[in-house]
Each structure stands twice: as structure tokens, then as C-alpha cells.
Subunit: 219 residues, 2 copies
């Protein structure tokens, strides 16, 4: 889908499950696990290249197994300012990847899910395309500028302004199109739009849009 | 907790369950159900004062029962710009309440959860204190200005800038205090703070903070 290095980051939220991990793991040039995410990798038969975090969610026997399978362990102190996911994203950005994919980054803890969405902006500001795939298969990513969606006709998509006002918002190929619209944070009217064309375009002149592309089977 | 009219809005996300509905229902001066939320109310033995939405999630027999129990039904067409939750919040704001509480507003659909968090800003800009309680009992609200938390010592709280940069951020009575800090949207370092004092203060000079107060039993 993308040219260049894709880095998969497996976070310690809800377990993405073996099928999802192996599917995205097969595309990834580098696999980074954030703390408990390493456990999900091992259970799926994947060996992370790097494990980062305070390691407070991993048992000594797991750390031994990870090291034995060649993982580099990057341990931070527990009272750090960053979440384990942020440490993983920063480590990934050091490799200048073309894209980053976050799994296990959404789930029960809504605060962690939201913080992980903020990490998409951390990557985007560095010019790195980043997306977060929920356990259900919903795909979240940010658009600042222009983005083309292909082969997504029929899929439901929600669009919200992220980190402030988004202006000059144009949606082409959607059931509810927009033309140079302003989306204010207190006016979340972009929920449950539908892609109608084989080629749909999202454009924003100022600000960021959070795109939530729902899993294909969800009308 | 608050003086004046408290309006409870029950949305159509995950079912908050009877115990939570009855607890908050008892405090509310007005109960508004957004579409499917009305079903949750009926199951909990509560009759909404108003049901608003496109009614596409409710069966005719449920609509009859709601009307029979005195609910005002405010039906909108399905291809509206607003979500059912937004219609409910706008209806609530017309009553000039002191506060609004949203239940059933978070759950499986992350896009709906996020849009509902944006609705907190819709209320806050009108000077109405609004909070969203997740099914797990986590409490989300926005602070623009100053807010005092009492009787919350020991509870975990996550703080993120909302809708852009937050500056002049001061946290007193927290394990990780801040003093006139700037929180950028790409730097989500406010996750998993802990309240340490019987009286904790959150202050922000410009921008908005999203406060996520985790349920009491969650360390």
C-alpha cells in the first residue's frame, strides 16, 4: 500500500488477536512492541525486533523469551512522562519510516485510545503516514492536505476536526459531500458519511481531519 | 453535586445498564433519550421525558410504549447532519440547564465516542457543565479555566489538550504536578496521573483540557 519502510507498533491495549497481528506483521519491515504488546506478539508467533516501555506488564520469563528470540529490550523508568506507546512511536520515527501502523492501541481504556490518536499527529507532523487499526478492524488516520481513498466504495467513514478547527474541507465521492467547509470542534457533523465512488478525495486547507474508516462489513 | 437543573441524556451507544441509569436518573430534573437510548431507559424502568432522533433504532411497539408513558417524541429525518446525540444535547441546551450528563455515549463505535466528547465542548461553550460517564464508570469532562476536584484522592486521571493547544496548565494536588505548562496535541503526556490531595486543582489559561477521571477501583 505504501512505498518504503512500514513499522508495525503493537501497543498494550486490547489484544488485536493473532490473525490481525500476523496480517500486518507480514507487511512490516520492523516490529516494535510497547510493553504488554510484546505478549500479544509472542502469542501470535511473532518476535518483536524491539520491545520498549517500563516492562511493568511483562513477566521475567516473557522478557527472557523475547531476548532469546532476538528482541532488543529498551527499558524506561515507570515514572516517565511518556506512555509506552509514545516511546514506541518515537523509536519508530528515528528510523524515518514511510509509514507506521498501530495495533492494540484502542480498547477498554478510552484515555489510552485518545492519547494514541494524538500520537498519529506526532507522526504526521514528521511527514510519516500513521494509522491506528482497532481490534474490530476500524482504521483511523489523520489528513492534513489531500488524501485519496480508493477501493472503499460502500464503506462508512466518520470525519472529525482534530486538534482544533479544520477549514477548506472538501469531500468528493461521498454521500454527503462538502465543499470548502469549516468544521468546528463543537460541531461534529461528519459522523457516518458513506464513500460512494471508487475514488474518493478528502481535502483540508488548514488544520487536521481525523478519518475513521469503519470496517468493511459495518454499514 | 451541581446547583440547578441537571439533564440526563441517554445515548444509543453501549447500554449503560440499569444501575447506572437509575442512579443518574434519580439526580436528573429532565431525562432525554437519543434514539436507541430510549430502549435502555425502558429496560431500566425509566420513562424519558423526551425522545429525539430519527427513531430508526426503535420498534413501533417501543415508540407506543414511550408515548404511553408520557414521552414527547421529536422525530428527525435520517439524513440529517447531526447525530442523535447532538440533537439531544441541543434540545437540552434550550432548557438552560446547570449541567448535562451523557450516558451510553461511549462504546464499541469509537467515532461516536469521539463525536460525543466533542459535544462536551458544545455545552461548555454555552457555559453548561457537561460530563460523559462511560459504562465502566470513567468520567470525562472539559476544563477551560479552573476546576476543583474534591474527594478524589487516589484516583487515576488522564489529561489531554482538547481541540488544540492548552497553555498555562497548572495541576495542584497531583502526583505529577504541572506549573504553567503548555500541552501540545502531539505530546499526550498527561496520561495516568494520580490525584494525591483531598482538594486538587486543574487550571488552564488558554484552550481546553479533556479530563478523564477513571473509575475509583482502577489504579
Amino acid at each position: 500500500m505504501f512505498e518504503g519502510l512500514m513499522i508495525l507498533i503493537v501497543c498494550g491495549g486490547d489484544d488485536p488477536g493473532g490473525a490481525q497481528l500476523r496480517r500486518f506483521g507480514a507487511e512490516a519491515g520492523l516490529l516494535i512492541a510497547a510493553d504488554r504488546g510484546a505478549r500479544y506478539c509472542l502469542a501470535a508467533g511473532l518476535a518483536p525486533d524491539v520491545v520498549v516501555g517500563d516492562m511493568d506488564s511483562l513477566a521475567p520469563v516473557e522478557l527472557d523469551e523475547l531476548a532469546g528470540r532476538g528482541a532488543r529490550l529498551v527499558r524506561h523508568r515507570p515514572d516517565k512522562d511518556q506512555t509506552d506507546s509514545q516511546l514506541a512511536v518515537d523509536l519508530a520515527l528515528e528510523q524515518s519510516p514511510a509509514s507506521i501502523c498501530l495495533l492494540g492501541a484502542a480498547g477498554d481504556r478510552l484515555d489510552h485510545s485518545l492519547a494514541n490518536i494524538h500520537l498519529l499527529l506526532r507522526a504526521a507532523r514528521r511527514g510519516v503516514a500513521a494509522r491506528l487499526i482497532t481490534g474490530a478492524g476500524d482504521e483511523l488516520f489523520l489528513v492534513g492536505g489531500e488524501f485519496e481513498l480508493t477501493s472503499c466504495a460502500g464503506r462508512t467513514v466518520s470525519i472529525l476536526p482534530f486538534a482544533g478547527r479544520a477549514s477548506g474541507v472538501t469531500l468528493e465521492g461521498f454521500r454527503y459531500p462538502l465543499n470548502e467547509a469549516v468544521m468546528e470542534p463543537w460541531e461534529p457533523y461528519g459522523v457516518s458519511n458513506v464513500i460512494e465512488s471508487a475514488r474518493a478525495v478528502i481535502r483540508v486547507r488548514a488544520g487536521w481531519l481525523l478519518i475513521m474508516l469503519l470496517r468493511p462489513d459495518l454499514a
